[in-house]
Assembly symmetry: C2
Homo-oligomer: 292 residues x 2
């Protein structure tokens, strides 16, 4: 069993990005610039956004953090999005989700200029990804593709089972894995209403778990020699930790790992790749790789 080290891979990619940025700057170009909009003081969101700003620094990007209190109006937030859309100095930006319930998240997402939508959540990017056109691919699925590629996991013609059908991970992951120019695999999407779930999962050469149910995937669901990618990051209480909790994946790691040819740990697997892919998307935005 080989551990897929997302932390080390992300570090290596950030170094590659930083080197590319220095080449751009040396040629007289501008540093890529990511803006992040954070509403309120949710602990998880604070942590994510802090991580994104830090990663910008590591990659040699310029970053701007724009904060609003919980009581910001939808109108104010739409005004902020419009300003960022129009700002030629901003290559890409994100509005950290979730937003307070009085704000229509989908409305905010669709207000973002898709050419700056480095999260890849705008329908134009979702649609272009489905059709196989250049676009911003959302960070988690893109990070998983990159891990598979860098660890030499053959995907073409392989059986891939995706557990979960969220808009953020399950659905785009399935779409990428089935497309000729990405995974070229035979893909099955399983979910809460799937019958014979364990049996379906056992057919997988590559199993991608993204259902948000801690330690849901046991050894009876994994074929001997499979590659297992664990997207789950649920906080579960843990008295031995200073924080009082630990991150638990969707996979029962201890029980499943011995059956796998490769497996991602939680933490240190998919998680670190996600922010790293946001950096790659920002670099692509700055270079106009996807859109003129």
């Amino acid at each position: 069993m080989k551990l897929i080290d997302g932390k080390a891979t992300a570090a290596a990619i950030k170094e590659e990005i930083a080197a590319e940025v220095e080449r751009i700057v040396a040629r007289g170009g501008r540093r890529p610039h990511l803006a992040a909009v954070l509403v309120g003081h949710d602990g998880g969101s604070e942590t994510y956004v802090r991580g994104k700003v830090k990663a910008c620094g590591e990659c040699g990007f310029r970053s701007t953090l724009i904060r609003y209190e919980d009581d910001v109006t939808e109108e104010e937030l739409l005004g902020c999005v419009a300003r960022l859309n129009a700002d030629p100095e901003v290559d890409g930006f994100i509005v950290q989700l979730p937003l307070p319930p009085h704000i229509d998240e989908q409305k905010i997402i669709e207000a973002i200029d898709y050419r700056k939508d480095v999260d890849g959540f705008h329908p134009v990017n979702v649609g272009r990804m489905a059709i196989g056109l250049p676009c911003f691919i959302s960070a988690t699925p893109r990070g998983i593709l990159e891990l598979l590629r860098r660890y030499g996991v053959e995907t073409g013609g392989k059986k891939c089972v995706v557990l979960g059908r969220s808009n953020i991970v399950g659905k785009p992951m399935a779409q990428l894995m089935m497309q000729k120019q990405y995974g070229d695999a035979t893909v099955t999407v399983c979910h809460s209403h799937t019958r014979g779930l364990a049996e379906e999962c056992r057919t997988a050469d590559i199993l991608i778990a993204a259902i948000g149910r801690p330690a849901f995937v046991g050894p009876e669901m994994v074929k001997e020699g499979a590659v297992v990618i664990d997207v789950g990051t649920t906080r579960v209480p843990d008295a031995t930790k200073k924080s009082g909790f630990r991150l638990q994946g969707d996979v029962d790691f201890e029980a499943v790992a011995p059956r796998c040819s490769m497996i991602t740990p939680v933490p240190g697997g998919v998680g670190p790749m996600t922010i790293c892919m946001l950096m790659l998307n920002t670099l692509a935005a700055a270079r106009h790789d996807c859109y003129a």
Copy 2:
């Protein structure tokens, strides 16, 4: 074995649409108006567009056919799209594909206002469909969903195998079948690079064949009691026909039908539903069901 009669179903739906149009007109409303742009004189395209114009008549719609010769420039065609986008009397329109090689099809598709894109090919509609938001769903997958629904085929929790991963049928079909508000099924997408294809297909409660290979699906690929939907329509030479050809589906109907609980014939199955769904999308456009 029960035959799924697409022709009769399409006729019934067109009658329902016509009745709704008369209600709209009786209330002082305007008839839905579909415009179709046809470039050149390709036999297949002529037939399809003629069928669409005829269906408009049956539904009580107004229709406009705009013709260009093969040597139309991309600029002229974009100008036509811009005029149709701006015309308040046109509810929806289509540009019949394929277009001559000197015209960038994707550029034309993306120039269409997604609120009038009743073919559902614009990235915004593709993306919104993937996310599960109101949108124009492309006609063939929507027609298949409607056939399943009207024939009382339970899809929730069932195993569905989609053969083929085209942008027009395979991919959107898979997305619809996996989503909770549509099929809610466990979906596998198989294609040319799938290993153990027959075995995968045999797991299907619902098998949807859309690979464009005549009579490819034989009885060894079909589970006893399965529902089989045949999207293929390949013209194969047939000396007994006046036209010199007949339409052959992807399924070896004679050999497969005895194993099925239900099956669509070719012709008369999925085909007639496709134009009919374009009519439903046009009605939805006129009523602003998807977009304000």
